[in-house]
Each structure stands twice: as structure tokens, then as C-alpha cells.
């Protein structure tokens, strides 16, 4: 007796799909959840407790942050730059998984990019698309 047959995707599409999941997994390792005021996502910028997020997300001075390993800690807003919609949050931690930085200078329209966050409370959700255009 054989079980139900599963259609196998072509090797390239299979690898493409696996590649997407792998890249999202890697990107998600530095993803944090900001849970005060305006909820949102953030990224570990430096292993010694520096997190970046949007200025419109980081409202107030003391922020509840869920770290990539699931622990909840309090963070302090170190700086806000509303013009760029950026904020820096400090947490009393070391050894956090910092994000690997890419280079947006060489990007071309059509290149694949992924975005991660926690929409409607869905933890670690992702979307994939291409760079629409560059100014």
C-alpha cells in the first residue's frame, strides 16, 4: 500500500519557496514586538540592547518589548526622530541577535524584499514582494 501521492513542485520553485522561508527565518531572528501604545515591530540593532523601531510606534518613555526569545522586558526610549519616523530603544540586555544589515544603495526595481511584523497581533507575520521603485 502506498499513501496518497504528493505532487512535487519543480526543483527551482521548491528551492525558491524554501529560500523565502529561510530568508524570513533569518530576518525574524532579530525581530521584536513593541507592545505599548501603538503596537508595532522593531529590530535588534546592536547585541548590547539597542533596538530600532518607528517613532510613531515608540510613544512614551517606558516601552514594553517582547524580545526574539519571547521574554518581555521594559525598554527606555533613547532618541526619537519623527521626520524619519525612527526611534531608538535601549533595553538592559546583552547578547541579543542583531540584524544583519543590507545595502539599499545597489537595489534595483524588481528585486525581492520581505517585510516582517505582527499585524493584528499575528506574531512574526511576513509578506514578500519586489522593490517597486527607487527615487
Amino acid at each position: 500500500m502506498t499513501g496518497p501521492r504528493v505532487h512535487r513542485m519543480t526543483i527551482t520553485a521548491d528551492l525558491f519557496s524554501e529560500g523565502l522561508a529561510e530568508a524570513i527565518d533569518r530576518g525574524g531572528r532579530s525581530l521584536v514586538h513593541i507592545q505599548d501604545g501603538n503596537r508595532g515591530a522593531g529590530s535588534v540593532w546592536h547585541a548590547d540592547g539597542l533596538i530600532v523601531t518607528n517613532a510613531h510606534v515608540a510613544r512614551g518613555n517606558s516601552i514594553r518589548v517582547t524580545l526574539p526569545d519571547g521574554r518581555q522586558v521594559r525598554g527606555r526610549v533613547l532618541a526619537r526622530e519623527p521626520d524619519l519616523d525612527l526611534a531608538a530603544i535601549g533595553v538592559e540586555e546583552t547578547g541579543l541577535p542583531a540584524a544583519e544589515l543590507g545595502d539599499s544603495q545597489g537595489l534595483r526595481p524588481g528585486e525581492m524584499v520581505m517585510s516582517m511584523g505582527h499585524p493584528w497581533g499575528v506574531e512574526g507575520a511576513a509578506t514578500a514582494g519586489v522593490v517597486i521603485g527607487l527615487g
Binding site: 527551482t12 529560500g19 529561510e22 526595481p109 524588481g110 528585486e111 525581492m112 519586489v130 517597486i132 521603485g133
Partner: protein
């Protein structure tokens, strides 16, 4: 990133770069400019009709940044297509593809140039179907629906496959709320007609009509529940000349049962102009036959 993903990503960016010169900015409205597709090297451009709010002072932005004035060759609002012409022979038309090798699930890119640079969104083919008729009565050879995002100004731009071949023209003006693409077969047909006649010739009766139930005995006899009740007849129109009057119900035209407006539009599409068609009408409860010489629908009618 893993190798395959990097390769796919680079391939997609290469595809966009290769198609770049075939994607043009079309500025014919007050809001953000829209997009057009280079159709022939010697200056023919296809775009969406609904993005042209005016018939003259249409500007086309070329990939090198130059802006030139285009003339409107013609438009067909029923398929939401328009043809423009610019001077010169420097356009880079895209390679066209019929949909024979395209399947649901294939990767596609929508391209646009509402500003100076080319833009792209990625998706898959969501649906491919048979021929369909737009709400305005236009005939589209295949139904082609991608799940690409359509940022403002993408209408009139190309939908290309992963090899950069033109599959169709995207329009967010044909079906409310979703992007559909007008396939190459329809583009070729409509562009040809517009270049020849300046408008798409569609048969014209000159009546206003609405669906009406037929009397039970006639419905049984014709095996047809409804016909079209004539509620207006334009003076001097083909219907007027044939003697149609208010209160008549049209039940067949050229042998085709007319149960609803779509059926009438279907009977009047194609090569109807100039033909004399037999029509069955119900007048005073009885069937009659009249011959109607089909006219050419006036522009804007």
C-alpha cells in the same frame, strides 16, 4: 539570502531592466500620470482609455527622460484601450506572448512609469479564463487576472511574464476593485481597428431598451422568458428607419435570441456594421419580423 532566492531576485530585476524602455509615462489627466506600452518602434503606444481625461495635450515621457507630445489615434472605452502616436522611431516594443504557455501560478510583473523611473510589482497569475464582455460591452478574448498590486499610475502599463514578454495591458478601470489584464490578442485586434478607423466599429441600432418578460404563450413558443422592451428610438437611427416603435419587444436579432442587453451587444459586435439583419419583435402581443440595416455606432454613443 539563499542562492535560489538571490538568483530569482536578480532575474526579476534583470527582467524589469530589459523591459524598462518599452514602458512609457502617459500624462493625459489632472491626477498622477499613468503608463503606456511601446507597441511599434515607429511611435505607436497603447494605454488605457480611462487614464486619458482629455483628447489633446497628451504628454508621453520617454525612458531617457525626454517628454514629447502625443496625438490620440483613437480610443475604445468598451475595452478601456487607447492608441497614441509620437514622432520618431526610437521606441522599444516588448516581445508579445499569447497565453498558451501561461498558467495559474506563474510569476508575473506589473510595470508602471507614473514618474521618471520604471516601477514594478510582483505577483502570480490568479486566474485565466475564457472570453468575456466588459460592463461597457467590450469583448475581451481571454480573462486574465493577476494578483499584483496596482499603485496609482500603473493603469495602461504592461503585465509581463518572468521572461519579460508582454502578456497584456493592466487596467484597474475595467472591473471594480481588482486589476485585470487585457490580453495581447485583444490588444492586437483593437489597436489594428483604431489605427484603421480611429474608433472601434460597433453595430448600432439606436434604441434604448430594458429587459421585459414575454407573454406566457410566446415565451413557450420561443423557449425564451424575456426580451428587450424598446423604451426609446433615436430619430433617423437604423431602428427608426426599420419602423421600430416604443413598446415593441425585441426577441431575436440575426437569429440570436435577445434575452438581455448583453445578447444585443453580442449580436452587434464584430462585423455587424453594414449588414441587414432580420429581427423578431413582439408588437401588440404578436410576433412580427422586420429587417434592420445595422449602422455604425456614433462616437460617444
Amino acid at each position: 539570502m539563499p542562492d535560489t532566492l538571490i538568483n530569482v531576485s536578480n532575474d526579476l530585476a534583470d527582467t524589469v531592466a530589459a523591459a524598462d524602455r518599452g514602458v512609457l509615462r502617459v500624462d493625459g489627466r489632472h491626477r498622477v500620470a499613468a503608463t503606456g506600452v511601446a507597441w511599434t518602434a515607429d511611435g505607436v503606444i497603447v494605454t488605457a482609455s480611462h487614464v486619458l481625461e482629455r483628447d489633446d495635450s497628451i504628454e508621453v515621457g520617454l525612458p531617457d527622460g525626454e517628454s514629447v507630445t502625443a496625438t490620440l489615434v483613437g480610443r475604445d472605452p468598451t475595452t478601456d484601450l487607447a492608441v497614441l502616436r509620437v514622432e520618431g522611431d526610437g521606441l522599444a516594443p516588448l516581445v508579445r506572448s499569447d497565453l498558451d504557455d501561461t498558467r495559474v501560478g506563474n510569476l508575473v510583473l506589473a510595470l508602471g512609469r507614473p514618474g521618471k523611473t520604471v516601477m514594478a510589482t510582483l505577483g502570480i497569475v490568479s486566474a485565466i479564463g475564457d472570453a468575456w464582455r466588459t460592463r461597457a460591452g467590450g469583448s475581451i478574448d481571454r480573462y486574465l487576472q493577476p494578483d499584483v498590486a496596482m499603485p496609482p499610475g500603473f493603469s495602461g502599463g504592461p503585465l509581463v511574464d518572468s521572461a519579460g514578454k508582454l502578456l497584456g495591458l493592466t487596467s484597474s478601470g475595467l472591473v471594480r476593485g481588482i486589476a485585470v489584464a487585457v490580453p495581447v490578442a485583444t490588444l492586437e485586434r483593437v489597436v489594428e481597428t483604431l489605427l484603421q478607423h480611429g474608433h472601434v466599429r460597433r453595430g448600432y441600432l439606436g434604441v434604448g431598451a430594458q429587459i421585459a418578460r414575454l407573454p406566457d404563450d410566446l415565451a413557450k413558443e420561443l423557449d425564451q422568458e424575456t426580451g428587450l422592451l424598446i423604451v426609446s428610438v433615436a430619430s433617423g437611427s437604423p431602428a427608426g428607419k426599420a419602423g421600430l416603435v416604443l413598446g415593441d419587444s425585441l426577441v431575436t436579432l440575426d437569429g440570436i435570441p435577445v434575452r438581455q442587453l448583453d445578447d444585443l451587444l453580442g449580436a452587434l459586435a464584430g462585423e455587424a456594421v453594414g449588414k441587414t439583419m432580420d429581427a423578431k419583435i413582439v408588437r401588440g402581443g404578436a410576433l412580427q419580423q422586420v429587417a434592420i440595416s445595422i449602422g455604425d455606432r456614433p462616437t460617444g454613443a
